[in-house]
Amino acid sequence: MDFLSGLFSFLYQTGDAFAFLVLSACGLAVIFGMMGIINLAHGEFILCGAYVTTSAVRMGLPLPIAILVGTLVAGLVGMLLERVIIRHLYARPLDSIVVTWGISMIVTQGTLIILGSTMPGTGTPFGSFTVAGYGYSVYRFVLMLAAVATLAVLWLIFTRTRFGILARATIQVPHIAEALGVNTSLIYSLTFGLGAALAGLCGGLYAPTMTLVPTMGSAFVVEAFVTVVVGGADIFLGTAPAAAILAVVKAGLTSWQGQLAGQIGLLVAVIVVIRILPRGLTGFILRERT
């Protein structure tokens, strides 16, 4: 019985870590995988999703609809940003990363100025249940399902929709896609928007579980960064398996030494791993497969 409850606890922790890693990283990974840009304002799109969701809930919308609103707003802001700023820097990918950092500073501090240092949350729904004396939150299971569902939807988008197929064509051979009449600039814009929307979704989903502060984005970015670094450029071959592996590492370290040890251990593990697999899991898997 003790062993079973221990196992359950570990699986719960792993699933929780997996959900967190997938949801916080997939927006970053979509933009990086398709456009080669690391969006340093990723945390601020999460912030945007969280704030909009919470405001919508307090205005009386049910949580699922509120999360959807948060996702859409973040996505639209992302598309706008791509049109106004990022678009001019495609020839200079490294500079476009620095620019997103400037945007991140503006948003974080702007939020602090306009909305103050904290926004009251809405509380976690669904309550909790107990197994062998330990409490577990039901909402955490919702988050795990949401992570799996997000991956499934992304899979459908990239393999079954016109946008997904054109997007993959654009990424692989931009000039040929252009020559075939694909509106590549629209594709880039939509891709950036999708990445931002996924960040917004992450913010919306986690908004009920945490205190909303203007710097909350940085609570997500480290995990998002390391998942993308280990995963490499492909969401399905890289990000998802990377999240799974890192989730085990993180859950193990967290239950052994606490939350912070989980995070530090994750980072150290990643730095050591890249010494061995410079092109991330994607590179490793592709090399094995081809």
């Binding site: 990086f32 080669g36 840009i37 690391i38 340093l40 700023i85 001019h88 820097l89 200079r92 990918p93 490294l94 500079d95 990363i97 620095v98 620019v99 950092w101 400037g102 945007i103 991140s104 500073m105 503006i106 974080t108 501090q109 702007g110 602090l112 100025i113 710097t215 940085s218 970015v221 480290v222 960064f225 390391v226 993308v228 670094v229 912070l260 995070q263 530090i264 980072l267 990643v270 730095i271 050591v272 890249i274 010494r275 061995i276 410079p278």
Partner: protein, 358 residues
């Protein structure tokens, strides 16, 4: 080779292909600026002079980032990690060792050494793992963010090294200022004229030494790697080593900034390694012009002065302006304001000459 000859060939490296500014005009300009900087305490209040040492403290980190990013082409977004490690290390060393017998100076060297060692270990994994530009940026940024979070939770009494309490989110204080041992009575360098001159002298030495470094063979290879790493490797250079050495030197300079800052204010907090703190060096260096030491030096001082002025209205406003400044610079003047303005005016001049000659 005769000794004198060697000295002149080393001095020749002060000018070269990797640095702007040469000839008597440039150096007399430098001499004038230096003379003004030296004369400043004569006309100002000691308290103000001490406060303004603050500006110099940061320039070392900026010059280090210029070396790593501007010259070496490696995006290191986490220089504040080395700033923080060295700052905390200085605190721990000096609180335990005290300020007699020149031990603060030993602590300075040890703290900078520790940050260099940390950079060496981290850099070994990154560069020998052949981490590409973008990933290098986000891994180094992650390192500084995790360090910030780690130091923030060290509030409890169990987090102490010897008699030095780390003190969590509120930061560590109470470490002694730099103190020079002297016959009779030691000279403690509180924020005042003495510290000003010491920091200024350090700055001049570091600036000139870096000029020589980037114009040396090492600097040649470093810019070659930035321009075309594959070609550089195929000329027989082990590019990983060169990038690692540049990273360690640049990070040690960030460490020096950290020590000077901590000794100056007798204080350091985890937020000095946070997201906003990490962004600021990037702003200074990008705005001034990262690919040259001189533009970085003056750009940093200029942006810092602007930032200081704006903090009157609150640091969040100042940070918003810094964000805008970064976005606008990258969009409109990617090589920095000085070089962009320079080429703008020289284009205008040439156009006018062309018109007049018609």
């Amino acid at each position: 080779m005769p000794r004198g000859n060697k000295t002149t060939s080393v001095l020749k490296l002060l000018e070269g292909p990797q640095t702007l500014g040469k000839g008597p005009g440039f150096w007399s300009g430098c001499a004038v600026v230096l003379a003004l900087a030296c004369a400043y305490p004569l006309f100002a209040d000691g308290y103000d002079v001490g406060n303004n040492v603050y500006f110099f403290n940061w320039v070392f980190m900026a010059l280090g980032l210029s070396l790593i990013w501007g010259y070496g082409g490696a995006l290191s977004f986490g220089q504040t990690a080395f700033f923080g490690v060295a700052g905390y290390a200085y605190g721990v060393f000096t609180i335990n060792l005290g300020d007699a017998y020149g031990l603060t100076l030993v602590s300075l060297v040890a703290a900078v050494g520790l940050s260099a060692l940390f950079a060496g270990v981290l850099g070994y994994f990154l560069f020998f793992g052949r981490i590409s530009g973008v990933f290098l940026g986000i891994v180094t940024l992650s390192v500084t963010l995790v360090l910030e979070r780690f130091m923030s939770q060290t509030a409890g009494p169990e987090w102490a090294i010897g008699s030095a309490r780390l003190n969590g989110f509120n930061g560590m204080g109470g470490m002694p200022s730099l103190t020079i041992p002297w016959f009779g009575a030691d000279i403690a360098l509180y924020p005042d004229v003495g510290l000003y001159y010491l920091t200024l002298a350090l700055l001049v030495v570091v600036y000139l030494a870096l000029r020589m470094l980037v114009n040396s063979r090492f600097g040649n290879v470093l810019v070659a790697i930035r321009e075309n790493p594959q070609r550089a490797e195929m000329l027989g250079y082990d590019i990983r080593r060169y990038q690692l050495v540049a990273f360690v030197i640049g990070s040690a300079l960030a460490g020096l900034s950290g020590v000077l800052y901590t000794a100056w204010g007798n204080y350091i907090t985890p937020s000095s390694m946070g997201m906003s703190a990490a962004a600021l060096p990037v702003v200074w260096v990008a705005v001034g012009g990262r690919s040259d030491l001189t533009t970085t030096l003056f750009g940093t001082l200029l942006v810092l002065a602007g930032f200081q002025y704006l903090t009157i209205y609150g640091s969040q406003y100042a940070l918003v302006v810094m964000g805008f400044l970064l976005v606008v610079t990258i969009l409109l003047a990617p090589s920095g304001i000085f070089i962009s303005l320079g080429s703008f005016f020289s284009r205008g001049l040439r156009r006018r000459q062309a018109r007049e000659s018609i």
